[in-house]
Symmetry: D2
Subunit: 379 residues, 4 copies
């Protein structure tokens, strides 16, 4: 693992998610640019000191020299966006598969280069758009692909948070710092940090892709150099239209990611904060409450479920689904087999490229005197 040391939020989540199936073990790490922090983190997680590295380059070089079976098989990159590319690219070059936090890179240019690198190396890269790992999300995807809603019409997706309601990035000691610093996070603030999750979910579930959008980006907290609020009208393939809004300044909200999709026959509604429940409304009969863990769920949802109905699963399990599918894919490829479709069901480098394109397109549309429809930015 690269990153995740000290009081980082997402590092320990990655670790728990990775461990869940007893299929992955933590063998080494470089958890912080501060070696002392790295060392403490690694020791807390029972690593031998010789595999707690000062530097990610050192880690990759030294690990690459260890015998197969002992050396690390893949690397999880949980650092700020700025350094994703160089770390992931080096890993791929040195023969390691990669799990990467989103957004995939600092810039679209880097994303395209990383995509090329994956193509060249033939290695596997998973991107932790965690929310697509929930079984109820996979149920929606499956049912829409089956045509249960008929022709799709509307998607409403939102990601509403309140934790950046004040300029807490000035206080230090929290995760707000690099996320609101354009030199670390890239062109998008809120739009990159959480807007990408909302967008990704909309494409993952509907199977359609955004072709153009009209956005408004804004900053409510004075002095903040990135957007902390965004809204957009979306036009998708297939005539689907959408409204997306994301904000980090809605005081009092925690992590309200929610999506609704409507077609000619009915609509789906899902809220990440109560993730085991999916509401399906029908034009001509009572709505249904579809709940994960039940026998009537689709095979894809079941494959991504660990507990029987009524035993709630949460964020870490969704995360673990990405790791599990990634590992099954890596293993199948290592064994020369074609990974089964359900193994390949994790966000990959193409999702990462589209994520950066989303940020670019939102930024291209979202500022300026006049609103504008901007075609999906390809490069």
């Amino acid at each position: 693992m690269i990153g995740g040391g000290g009081n980082a939020m997402i590092g320990p989540i990655h670790l728990r998610a990775a461990l869940m199936e007893n299929d992955i073990e933590l063998v080494c790490g470089c958890f912080s640019r501060n070696y002392q922090t790295s060392l403490e983190t690694g020791q807390k997680w029972h690593l031998p000191q010789e595999r707690i590295y000062h530097d990610y380059r050192e880690m990759m070089e030294r690990e690459a020299q260890l015998p197969v079976g002992e050396r690390m098989d893949f690397v999880a990159v949980v650092t700020p966006n700025k350094v994703h590319y160089e770390q992931a690219a080096l890993a791929l070059d040195m023969g390691f598969d990669v799990v990467l936090d989103k957004p995939m890179t600092f810039s679209l240019e880097e994303a395209l280069k990383l995509e090329e690198k994956v193509r060249q190396t033939g290695r596997t890269l998973a991107l932790t758009h965690t929310y697509s790992g929930y079984p109820a999300v996979k149920e929606m995807k499956t049912r829409i692909a089956e045509g249960q809603l008929g022709r799709l019409r509307l998607v409403y997706v939102e990601y509403t948070q309140g934790w950046l309601s004040e300029r807490i990035e000035l206080l230090g000691g929290n995760n707000a710092g690099w996320r609101t610093d354009p030199s670390q996070t890239g062109k998008g603030g809120c739009v990159g940090d959480i807007g990408t999750h909302a967008w990704h979910l909309s494409e993952y579930i509907t199977g359609e892709q955004v072709v153009e959008l009209c956005a408004e980006l804004s900053t409510f907290v004075e002095g903040r150099p990135v957007d902390d609020n965004a809204a957009a009208f979306l036009h998708f393939t297939g005539g689907l239209r959408g409204v997306l809004h994301a904000t980090q300044v809605a005081a009092g909200e925690e992590n309200r990611l929610a999506i609704r999709v409507y077609g000619e026959k009915g609509g789906f509604e899902w809220h990440q904060m109560e993730p085991n429940t999916l509401t399906i409304r029908w034009a001509d009969r009572p709505a249904e409450i579809v709940r994960t863990g039940n026998g009537y769920m689709s095979p894809l949802a079941k494959w991504n479920t660990r507990t029987p109905g009524g035993h709630p699963e949460g964020y870490i399990e969704a995360f673990a689904n990405i790791y599990r599918n990634f590992v099954h894919t890596v293993r199948a490829k290592a064994a020369g087999e074609t990974p089964r479709p359900e193994y390949l069901d994790f966000p990959d480098v193409h999702d990462g490229v589209r994520g950066l394109q989303f940020i670019e397109t939102m930024v291209a549309s979202g500022y300026g005197e006049e609103p504008k429809w901007v075609k999906w930015v390809e490069k």
Copy 2:
């Protein structure tokens, strides 16, 4: 009452709302252009035949000749938009106060003329933006006016229906016909029928006014000559921003009107379909569930509440609040008194004018190749 005969939905609701305080009685009516329908409706409601009229003009003339105390005091107009103006204007001219369904008139031009007529006659006009009659809505208005949320930032308002998912207006025998006929309903379809409610709620609750908007209007159901779907970014006075969406083609949805308002300190959330509950989120402490009928509610909410906590009130009671406040205002004015502020708390001719301006502005912005910010249309 003018209109409301046959299988009309809203006429009987008006009647029930009007009767609720035993302060109003139905004394006459012209319930349909078809006299037989009008007669049957009037008889069902126990009117003597001589006060069931063939024609609204006849009704006003004949009623005006009856002695005070016997003749009607005000008229409720529950007809399609097309005829609102002529009916309301005549009533005002003949000395009757008016309760009018929204949108107030067919066009902005008529709305402005009606506003002028109200000013000239000094009579009272109430517009049934019913949803502003709910006590929880009034609680939000009160608390925001008190500054409980601090400086306002965001409003998300939606009105989502599915009943026009198919082109049922061609079937006849339902309320879809005139609503989707531009010669009856005016420039707006969905945007006029329900978009106006969503917009009105956003201004009523926040106390701010839209100054410009960027909209997208669309029609999903083939052949329908008016919009059945709308979305808009809203800029309000005071730096408040909003996202509004309204649709009548979200298959499976009933009457999902919902609003959220966020300020620096927290946010409100209210859903019309569970109207007695108001959720208040705070940046620094647990969210609260504020419920109507409890001792801690504001005086304005209490004034508009009839039952103790846990005894749910609904749509008809919200409607009745408009009638009650209207009647108290009419009485106070008749007695030469200044109506108390809580009596004046009902949508009036100015709300009606702004409603038509909203439709005009949405239409001006919402069509065409390019999106555009359109300043609030004044005339």
Copy 3:
């Protein structure tokens, strides 16, 4: 109307419920034993002074002398339990139909006498077990009668309030006084005031009757001379078993009446505080959210519904359903017709007798060192 003056809670609710269909008008009343209060109440409701009476006997005598069409047709009794019998019995004797608040009488003995009086006079008596008036409740009744749940197994019913958490009856000026005074209210405190509603709902919905029960009655608030808390195991006809609990000392609760019924194939759940939603769980497929006002509802539910889906109805509308069905029954009988089954669907004198039997049985079982199964008390 007898009672309902001053700050009474339930009187104005009766009036609003009665008025809702424009089928009933308030023509006279004796609203309080205090004539001044009665007069003020009557004038507020626009009654002429000569029909605001000092005394209910005077009212009945004088009204009986008025010509048909002018005199009152029925009387609503909204007084404390103590005087229900004498008022209702006199009304019946003098040829008036009666609407009566529950519990029907002070004692079972009186209830049986009133039942006999109804039989003798052939008049109609409605008892306001309001909660059975909700359309979702009628939907449950209909579906169970159709066998949708298969053989019934379990019913859980609760009525949880907190308003008597402290001994507020000592403060005066509230509705707690007579309800906690055994000389006014009868043998049951909480068990009579709200326990009867919970019990009634369980029999109304399931179509089964309690045959024996094992109860525990208790008083949490020191010095209170009646029970303020109750729980019971219930055995019904048909092998159905139940658990009922009712309390008025659950601090923080408003008016939480809720029922669940399970059979071999699934179960129903309904909460009075969100009365337009009915959840139906199935053993073998997703749960359904059945909502009032939709086309798929049963004819009985539709007959008791006034608004389309998503326009919430509440307590007053449920109350009004009892009045409406009562009036239709009275009219049909007056016309020499057999009332249609849906007209007869209101709680009547037999429900009232069973209500008093419920109280007697609960009291017989609920006190003493040892718990005991007590057969349903018939007399």
Copy 4:
């Protein structure tokens, strides 16, 4: 681990829970009495063949001979109740700490013997009353201990399932077999399997203990030799009263464990199926929605939380809290330190004894012609 092989539900949950903090690794196991099943399970989890044992006795003997650091430190027992005692007792005798599924043993006699064994060996035993591991449960416990509800009055606790609605135990291949076989499961069916969880939660949260109860046990599914339904009135220390019901035949219910506790000042409500939300109602002000992961939570809840607000945690995380606290306790003891209070916050052998006493008391009260109050059975 002993047990957990094949299609067992709870074994993999134990493993995931154990792994979550990277503090525990699976080193050996005897996963089934069928060695082939055991072998396959162990290999799936990457164990070397020599540490997949034929028999739990063999496992303990062979592991005990391995050097410290290599051998297993503790054993997780996830077998049917019948064999809990012999397996756990042997482990304790051989110097291993134990994690044990509930109910702790087949009989109260065994439970008392196990308690004695723990006392003698000084080892640590954790019992997986998983539901007490949720942070919201710990928040309730903390706040009640602080007196926030004032004197406690009422607890309503239920555990409602539907999976045994039909006699699926006859089909084989599921987890219903031993649970409904008295020779495997002990005296209680539903009352032991899930009733114990409900009871445990009621004592854990309130800090009070049941002193007597009056129960009714019943069997709805014909031919089933154990109870599948239970209800009880509970009397606790401190004057607290309760109603408990548990069933496995409520067709359509998943895993509905819910508890409400009321005191003089307000009440708590928590539903296991949405475990991150705790509703707190207050007598004199709006209810609060307390959500895990927020800054305002108590230290005990925070210690048992892994994700920030709005990132849901579930059943596996609750389970993992028991493992984590158990491990911290074991380590502290091994280091000769006094475990911190939050480490000791897991169900232990005393909870296990009380659990068997609960079953005995329920069985002693719950059958027979006459209901009876039965004092808590001590032996």
